[in-house]
Subunit: 220 residues, 2 copies
């Protein structure tokens, strides 16, 4: 699938040995989650807000209310970036500054445009819901037109990206390995706990198979 | 402990019913983690990068290499913000656009300055390590002067902040509760898995009590 060209914008300056520009690796990190930090500039300040997303090919979709100040600022300026990060471990070293974390992180740059066609909007809202729980949208009450009308969908075409991944043990100073200290990695994982049914009908029926399947993939 | 004044910068525009300006709540959300998304502007783009932090009173500390382009940009411009977010649950509704997540999130604005005094720097680097694992720093090999010299510490004084918290069940349209669909909440939790000792000495000794205590607090 190729790599993203290293430019001034996406070149990883610190920890270059962990930098990855491979498209497939970057897509895998994106697909492992459904919430990313979307950046915008407000009153001169860089602000990032966690948002649900979906990826389709080289595009990321986010949605929000048509009154959303962040989405408007992003559309007006064309300037945003998205960071998606998964924490995988605490790296416990023999000295303070060699402490680290294992993680997978991507920073994405791209071009943004608003999706205005109703059918396209519906498709991408479906994708966002299905990124959270696969195969879910088609089991739900269909979206009302008025719901669609008050929802803004933004398409972010990834034009530049980089990943940083740390997935290894402790890297201490050579002379410190003889010190009588414990060191190692404590893996970190995000897990799902047992589903809690809503009042009424859900409390009397079985959880649908596609939700159970998703739960089983990530349960504690 | 009071509240943060609502200003143009920190006023929550979307979902105001979830907005919290209470200092104690905001501090609790900060203290529940150790990695936040720190924003900076580079080449006109808002970028956010996950960084380890510590909180002491109304101040946040982050550190990095003295060559770190982000920390330099933040110091030069004085413009940054920090978002810290904990994902607590998947909220599964009867219609797509009522899907949501339970979460605790803070966005912090403030003034930044570099800490240059060696003793202060050491204290705050200790705080960052101890935010990851409480009571840890004093059990480690003391920091070398050359390590301190190549580390930059930034103090971020929180001058404005807001939190958003969602911690509840499904909010569906009134008429949708009769639909024969499952709905509910799947709680999400970040957990620690069994520690993996580094080669050599650590593989032959017990894990120190303060690390075991931390592990027990968050283990799967």
């Amino acid at each position: 699938m190729g790599t993203f060209e290293k430019t001034k914008l996406n070149r990883v300056k610190r920890g270059q040995n962990r930098a990855i520009y491979d498209t497939e690796v970057i897509h895998q990190i994106i697909d492992a989650g459904f919430i990313g930090h979307v950046g915008y500039i407000y009153d001169g300040y860089p602000i990032s807000i966690p948002m649900a997303y979906a990826r389709k090919d080289d595009k990321i979709y986010v949605h929000g209310s048509t009154a959303n100040r962040m989405l408007k600022a992003i559309l007006d300026s064309g300037k945003t970036s998205i960071n998606i990060m998964h924490l995988d471990g605490l790296v416990i070293a023999r000295s303070g500054l060699h402490h680290s974390v294992n993680y997978r992180s991507v920073t994405l740059f791209g071009e943004v445009k608003e999706i205005v066609n109703d059918q396209e909007k519906t498709t991408f809202i479906k994708d966002i819901v299905d990124q959270m729980i696969p195969n879910h949208w088609d089991t739900l009450r269909p979206m009302h037109q008025k719901e669609l009308d008050r929802t803004m969908v933004i398409e972010f075409t990834i034009t530049s990206a980089s990943a940083k991944v740390r997935a290894e043990g402790v890297n201490d100073e050579p002379e410190d390995y003889d010190l009588p200290y414990w060191a190692g990695v404590i893996p970190v994982k995000q897990v799902l706990e047992a589903p809690v049914a809503d009042k009424g009908y859900p409390s009397t029926i079985a959880i649908p198979e596609h939700i159970t399947a998703h739960y089983n993939n990530f349960k504690q």
